[in-house]
């Protein structure tokens, strides 16, 4: 039997040279008539090991990484003789401690097969959830989601069941499912990895959602910064439709679900659900006042279920394995698994899916393995550009929604960005304001003007000898943004600023404060 050689194809692997490796391998295999079939998988998300090649032979896999162009001659020789003897051989990929220590649910399939191959998807429980959902009345599907305890994975952690119930109960001629794939937070790539490695999971989740709430149309709103995800999704949608998983007659059930892919245009604010809806309607991505919530009056004024990629994808597992099995994992009111992304200055970065309740320290030490620079870590920004900066004294907080909220932090979409001791926290605080100024939709004054004032006041604070006055001004401004902004953009931009001031006063030339 011909052995298979898997070369990952996701954005990060490609950014590290995987496409060039695949071309060189294809040429070498042809030239030397090697008994190897070259395959492209997604990625397991162990980005520190990318490009991570895998040899599949007799049902077993051996991983090699990180592989560079220079390693190919010796690797190809070793594959023919004694693969395990090659210095880059990591053994069975599932036994690499970094991966073995995870509880993969949403990312169980990532990196195993060809992302676009429907057979590969179905061979690993793909469409099991849809199969089950097709035999359930809508009410029962919604009840399953509610019972699972699933909460929105985009950042706000709102109970999914309540949204599904609201859309189901709202009477309308046309309802919509909208997938928010505008993953704009720095330090996050979970949505991208799922879209590029396991796109049918999202498609299946959206069909299930459509069946549950009575929506026959769906949109995926993908950010334009993800050109590779666009290609994968575009192809996946065509294949799913051709195979009868999308269209007028889902799997012969007589029920319809049409799914379209839409491209964003480089506006961070369109990750906010109401701005996203405006953008989908072909307008400026302006935040809407709530109520009405999108579940009642969303896209084109119709009831709309808006969810992040991971939330919709989770519906497949919940329907396939049951709400109870899903809810059995987790801690407190955080059910299911926790998806975090280790990013920034970290030695072993990538996608980590673990039970809720792990501490940040465990995550940083057991998975992260310290900084990439080898210098002491000084700060971690948790939850994206609107998340707090946490010093080491805060790292024992368990990673679940409530425990973090109690410490003034948030999990958001699970971005964990590590900084070493060379970071200037005053500049990070200033950047939070600069980013808000660049990305504010401009609808409300506290965000639009507050962010520009924020930069000015921080500059003044840093330059000033009488810091008290500037500090009072800044405090006042942060309060105004926090309380007066229409959405989380202006409302949470103060979080990184406040945390930097609180935990790193010396960087602002301020005396240390009592905790």
């Amino acid at each position: 039997m011909t052995a298979r050689l898997w070369v990952p194809s996701d954005t990060t692997a490609a950014a590290l040279g995987a496409d060039e490796l695949a071309s060189s391998l294809a040429a070498a295999i042809a030239e030397q008539s090697l008994p190897l079939e070259l395959m492209r998988n997604g990625s397991r998300g162990a980005f520190w090991l990318e490009p991570l090649l895998e040899l599949e032979r007799d049902g077993e896999r051996l991983a090699f990484g990180p592989v560079s162009e220079d390693d190919l001659p010796s690797l190809l020789t070793a594959l023919q003789v004694d693969p395990r003897a090659h210095p880059l051989c990591l053994g069975d990929p599932t036994e690499i401690p970094w991966l073995a220590g995870q509880s993969r649910v949403s990312f169980a399939r990532a990196g195993l097969g060809d992302p676009l191959c429907l057979e590969h998807y179905q061979a690993r429980h793909g469409f099991d959830g849809l199969e089950h959902a097709l035999h359930l009345p809508p009410e029962d599907i919604v009840d399953e989601i509610t019972a699972s305890g699933l909460r929105g994975r985009g950042g706000a952690a709102f109970p999914a069941g309540i949204k599904w119930r609201t859309v189901l109960d709202t009477v309308a001629g046309q309802k919509y499912i909208v997938c928010n794939a505008d993953e704009g937070d720095s330090g996050t790539f979970a949505d991208r990895l799922l879209l590029e490695s396991d796109p049918y999971q999202l498609i299946e989740g959206m069909v299930i959602a459509g069946l549950a709430v009575g929506a026959s149309r769906g949109y995926i709103y993908l950010r334009s910064e993800y050109p590779r995800a666009w290609q994968v999704l575009h192809t996946a949608l065509g294949k799913a439709e051709a195979a009868g998983f999308l269209g007028d007659d889902i799997c012969g059930s007589g029920r319809a679900f049409h799914l379209s892919l839409r491209l964003g245009a480089g506006a961070y604010i369109c990750g906010e659900e109401t701005a996203l809806l405006d953008s989908l309607e072909g307008r400026r991505g302006m935040v809407r006042s709530k109520p009405p919530v999108p579940a009642v009056a969303g896209l084109f004024g119709q009831p709309t279920l808006v969810h992040n990629v991971l939330t919709l994808a989770a519906a497949t597992t919940i329907l396939a394995e049951g709400a109870e099995a899903y809810a059995a994992q987790g801690s407190g009111r955080s059910r299911g698994t926790l998806t975090v992304q280790l990013a920034g200055n970290v030695r072993r970065g990538g996608l980590v899916e673990v039970p809720f309740g792990l501490s940040l320290r465990q995550l940083l030490e057991d998975f992260g393995g310290g900084t990439a620079s080898g210098r002491p870590p000084r700060a971690v920004q948790l939850g994206g550009p609107l998340g707090a900066y946490l010093p080491e004294s805060e790292w024992d907080t368990p990673l679940d929604y409530e425990a973090l909220a109690a410490r003034g932090a948030m999990l958001g979409h699970g971005g964990v960005v590590v900084f070493d001791d060379t970071v200037d926290m005053a500049q990070q605080a200033r950047f939070a304001m600069e980013f808000c100024a660049a990305e504010s939709c401009g609808k409300c004054t506290p965000c639009r003007i507050g962010s520009v004032r924020g930069m000015e006041v921080i500059d003044d604070l840093l330059a000033s000898d009488s810091k008290e006055r500037q500090l009072a001004l800044l405090g006042d401004l942060l309060d105004t943004m926090e309380q007066g902004s229409l959405c989380a953009m202006g409302g949470l931009t103060p979080a990184p600023v406040r945390s930097a001031l609180k935990h790193y006063p010396a960087d602002f030339g301020l005396p240390a404060v009592e905790a």
């Binding site: 520190w48 910064e225 993800y226 307008r283 991505g285 992304q341 200055n345 970065g349 900084f419």
Partner: protein, 157 residues
């Protein structure tokens, strides 16, 4: 293709699509390189919108431009995860190497430099996107080589 024909084709294609303005603008820019300001009245009429609405949408989104850009677009990620591994230095190097600022195009029309807030490659930054390809762990030296490759590719016979 003259842009008038392109705009007419795109109106034909997206005119009946609900919320079709963004896909239309993407399609025009994809083929023409930019959305000519002179095309705004036609787009507005074809999409049953006011010119102000079309202008408003174009100016809102970072991606859309009404003036031609360079033959290549180089985006430097300036978000936090990349800052943590040296993106601030890389930004300065990019500006110095090209002799232009963000939003500008080199004199020979080869390269437009843009900031970008996250390319989703945050475990292996600093990240740079050149046209549709993303590069990981880009330091000054690597950036110099990538930019040099763009220039030499341009001058290839």
């Amino acid at each position: 293709m003259p842009y008038r024909q392109l705009v007419a084709d795109c109106i034909e294609r997206f005119g009946d699509e609900a919320g079709g303005l963004l896909p239309l603008l993407h399609a025009v820019q994809e083929i023409n390189g930019h959305i000519p300001a002179a095309a705004i009245p036609e787009i507005a009429a074809g999409m049953n919108l006011s010119q102000a609405e079309v202008q408003g949408v174009i100016s809102f989104y970072h991606d859309f431009r009404t003036e031609p850009g360079g033959r290549h677009t180089v985006q430097i990620c300036r978000a936090e995860a990349c800052q943590a591994v040296g993106a601030r230095t890389l930004e300065a190097s990019a500006r110095a190497a090209l002799g232009i600022g963000y939003g500008d195009t080199t004199g020979d029309g080869a390269i437009t430099l843009e900031p970008v807030y996250c390319l989703g490659n945050c475990a292996c930054g600093p990240s740079v996107r050149i046209d549709d390809k993303v590069y990981a762990r880009v330091d000054d030296e690597r950036l110099e080589r990538l930019l040099a490759a763009l220039v030499s590719e341009e001058h290839a016979p």
